[in-house]
Amino acid sequence: MGVVWKGMAALAVTVAASIGGAQAATISISCGAVGQELQLCTDGANAWAKATGNEIKIVSTPNSATERLALYQQILAAGSADIDVYQIDVIWPGTLANHMIDLSEYIDEETVGQHFKAIIDNNTVDDKLVAMPWYTDGGVLYYRKDLLEKYNKQPPTTWQELTDTAKEIQDGERAAGNDKMWGFVFQAKAYEGLTCDALEWVDSFGGGTIVDADGKITINNEKAAAALTMARGWIGTIAPEGVLNYTEEESRGVFQSGNAVFMRNWPYAWALGNAPDSTISGKIGVSALPKGGADGKPTGVLGGWQLAVSSYSENPEIAADLVKYLTSAEEQKRRAIQGSYNPTIEALYKDQEVLTAVPFFGSLYETFVNAVARPSKVTATKYNQASSEFFNAAHDVLSGKAEAPARLAELESKLDRLSRGGRW
């Protein structure tokens, strides 16, 4: 009898400790592991676990977004309850909506209303709030402040300026003895990251967004071809040929070891580049990605990650509480200061502590708010195929296997077939 009483007492304590009267549970959450993501995610989730008396299991996932989605789809297609909370990309709500619960049932409207409306709209599929915004992303241009000063250059505002500056500094530094110096690194492996990079080039030239909001395929135009031809010219001249197999972390590796003047990457690279163990700490500047030409526009693709709760979860209520905690203003502020992850809560962009840690959150506010979205909404479940066709086309042009105009015409006909004449 004694054992039973002890057991019941323990149960009572646990129940009392958990918030909202729900029983203590083990919640597993999938976290990305790019840069310091995993550490920040673990710390945040553990803080929640400590406060609520629940337990946390961290599932780390592949760095490549393409592979991560594939993994999720296999787990979700099997109806598995192994992962309760999923970290999902800004382009996935449409694809994964069927497998996720409606978070608006657990999180009040006022809390949801603090976040950028554009992202909430993006995460709402058929009136269902599929995911809560965790951090947003926009492609930005990193440059070496010290090198630009040394050669008396300004941060470039057009791609042509970037090309010239990169070439001059690269040649100068090589002559001075650093023969590993390159002008510009970015992401050009045949994967989702290349879709982001190439879309930025195309958009900066005013070449549209591959598929427009009505589903019409717009990619086969002169401006898009000019953008890709320009990028082709970088390979082997200011960018190492290896970029054709680089993802975010490979490009950061080259830039952070001091071997590149410019880098296109997401904001997360700021905190890591300025960490005490970084060779270029304090020597980094950040600006918006350049314009295509005099009549182009500065650009940056919309990225960012959301948290969603699986509808196969055994504890949806507790999992939703974890999501609420991790996406709260307090937690987003911590992540912004420690890891330079962009908050999705507007008020934090005026927070003095955040702006001191990451000054460009203030100066590039407009870029983040007006970031160009990939056509995931209109292409819906076919987005992955469309994106794959696009990055393969871009990869072919970059690696010199095809000329941009001809390859874009081919891409158009492929997308046309894929979408059955733009109906998607």
Binding site: T66, Q73, A77, N98, Y191, L244, S399
Partner: protein
């Protein structure tokens, strides 16, 4: 399983009129074989059957229940897809070049290890290390060694003045497949060497002794004695490797992902099945890959049987 089946077959041939005892033994033989057949049917037969079934439907990974029968549509589309043929061509190139190199190098190493010298056992074990490392690990390791900016391979080649500027091994369309083949040869040559070494040790010593007595040149001994006698073992080793190489996936996927320059048939099937969620179409690709490998095996078995009858 095979021993029992052979025993059953042997008894059937010997005694056309079955005694009670024989019948009982046959019953027992089947009893022992059945669990194995059931397990095989479950773990090999059922998935294979399901894949073939899916290949005739338009099944989608997000909901497998709503698949509709579409006949040969998937196959027709597959055979008209240039990317599929690109994958087939990549796989064939990869298999032909890597297996040829592995056979030549493996034979050389096997001959060297067959000689008598001190520390032979230790060396034989050491040679197997590349084969023992999990492919994903060695692929990632080589990926870093091949890195264009801080990779050790470029560093060494530059230091030796063999190249004037770094090569982007895994990125450049000209070298991506070469890099994959280099790693595969590094990894699988020990396996080849071991199979051939086992064959070499089975060869009768008398031939070599009489060759020695007659004072035959070692090269002639190799061409006229070793190679013909080793042929069965060599053929088995080559067919093993070819079948393995035709379904190459892990090495290529880790080193260059879905890059079309190195995409093999397996990588293509996976992309369709998982990335694009097109289970029907991806299954058609997987089934075709299975048929190609099966056809290969049948051709080999037929050829080797014809050779034996001569």
């Amino acid at each position: 399983m095979s021993t029992a089946t052979v025993a059953v077959a042997a008894q059937l041939q010997e005694k056309p009129v079955k005694s009670r005892l024989t019948r009982q033994r046959i019953r027992y033989a089947w009893l022992f074989v059945t669990p194995m057949l059931v397990v095989l049917a479950l773990v090999a037969g059922w998935p294979l059957f399901r894949t073939i079934w899916f290949s005739f439907t338009d099944a989608n990974l997000s909901d497998l229940q709503v698949a509709e029968f579409v006949g040969f549509d998937n196959y027709v589309y597959l055979l008209s897809d240039p990317e599929w043929w690109n994958a087939v061509w990549n796989t064939v190139k990869f298999a032909a070049i890597s297996v040829t190199l592995e056979t030549i190098l493996g034979l050389g190493i096997a001959l060297a290890l067959d000689a008598h010298f001190r520390g032979r056992g230790l060396l034989r074990a050491a040679v197997l290390i590349p084969w023992a490392i999990p492919t994903v690990v060695s692929a990632q390791m080589w990926g870093w060694m091949f890195h264009d900016v801080f990779g050790v391979i470029n560093h060494m080649l530059m230091a030796l003045h063999l190249i004037s500027k770094p090569i982007a091994w895994t990125a450049s369309p000209d070298t991506a497949l070469v890099a994959v083949i280099i790693v595969d040869v590094w990894k699988t040559t020990p396996f080849m060497a071991l199979l051939l070494l086992a064959g070499l040790q089975m060869l009768p010593g008398e031939c070599y002794e009489s060759a020695k007595v007659d004072g035959i040149h070692p090269f002639k001994v190799f061409w006229k004695i070793t190679l013909p006698l080793l042929k069965p073992a060599l053929m088995v080793a080559v067919i093993f490797r070819v079948l393995d190489a035709m379904r190459i996936f892990d090495l290529i996927y880790v080193m260059s992902g879905n890059n079309k320059d190195t995409m093999s048939m397996s990588v293509y099937s996976r992309q369709q099945l998982v990335d694009f969620q097109d289970v029907g179409y991806g299954s058609a690709a997987a089934t075709l890959l299975f048929l190609i490998i099966a056809a290969f095996t049948v051709v080999y078995l037929t050829l080797s049987r014809v050779g034996r009858e001569d």
